[in-house]
Amino acid sequence: MAITAAAFGVVYGLAARTAGLSLAEAIAMSVFVFAGASQFAALGLIAQAAPWPAIIVLTAVLNARHLLYSAALLPWLRPRPVAERAVIAHLLTDEAFALSLHHFQRLGRTDVGGYWLAAGLIFIPWNVATIVGLLGGQVIPDPRRFGIDVIFPAAMAALAVLLVHGRRDLVAAVVGVAVAVGLGLAVDPALGVLAGGLGGPLVALLVPGPRPGSPATALAEELDPSLGATP
């Protein structure tokens, strides 16, 4: 997980440099936001000169999935002091959640040290790698010559693929692409991304959900048992 975070962080640093962020701005994103997908999405919108409110709305919606993680960890972390839980929350990522929940379930008890270790193994490499990627990109005279400009769309497409677990996810992605490109060509690319990102899921909800017992259903129910009732 730490190696993956570091590799991904280098890619983010390179993409941030291509989007025109300074070192301080790239680090600020990695420290204050600390959520890879939304950080990449923000880079894309910044490069398209999108207005800040659009970037902030998209960030909020993209990161709303953390509600599920936080709720799933609550039974384990409820006895901890409020101040500690407040800090724990900031370091909650997809990876920290997966590692710590598995660890708690395996032990059958809360091991908060295990949480800090999991979170640290993501937070520290991610931020160090952001610096490495951005500074490393600065010594490359012409990033296009080395294909660095394709890193951002390639990483976005790959992340989307990793998030597709069923028909609904696929429909959301395909409709998102169609709306984004269509509206992007007709009006503005940044508006297209926002409309595709928010409209694709609406269409996808019309698709029948995963069958009971499928891997997607099992994962959703592990995150939140109430999702089992999703039609």
């Binding site: 959520a35 902030i56 509600l67 599920l68 929350a89 693929v161 297209g192």
Partner: protein, 110 residues
């Protein structure tokens, strides 16, 4: 060194933190309807795919007028997607895409 986007980073952090903290700090607030939770889950693949597509399919001229483009970037992104779907390794896919584009440009094919 530019610092303008540090404020944007703070605002992005400010809208992200409640999702992470509310259930841990104020139990019960996370109880959104299942349909809403499913919608939020689907935003991830939709917006990421949209971003990728817009970045490879649309170029802006100096007056910010969009136009459709087809180039080696399409093949590079498709290669990355295929590799990631096969190996489940983001880094390998991204590096392969960059190498493909670099080779095509160095050879004059793109």
């Amino acid at each position: 060194m530019s610092l303008g986007l540090v404020v944007l980073a703070l605002l992005m952090g400010a809208v992200t933190y409640p999702s992470r903290a509310l259930p841990l700090l104020a139990p019960g607030l996370e109880r959104l309807p299942p349909r809403a939770l499913e919608y939020l889950r689907l935003v991830g693949p939709a917006v990421l795919a949209a971003l990728a597509a817009v970045n490879v399919a649309i170029v802006l001229d100096p007056a910010r007028r969009p136009s459709f483009q087809v180039g080696i970037e399409w093949l590079a992104v498709a290669t990355c997607v295929a590799l990631v779907a096969w190996r489940r390794n983001l880094f390998v896919g991204v590096i392969a895409a960059a190498i493909l584009v670099a080779l095509a440009r160095a050879s004059g094919a793109a």
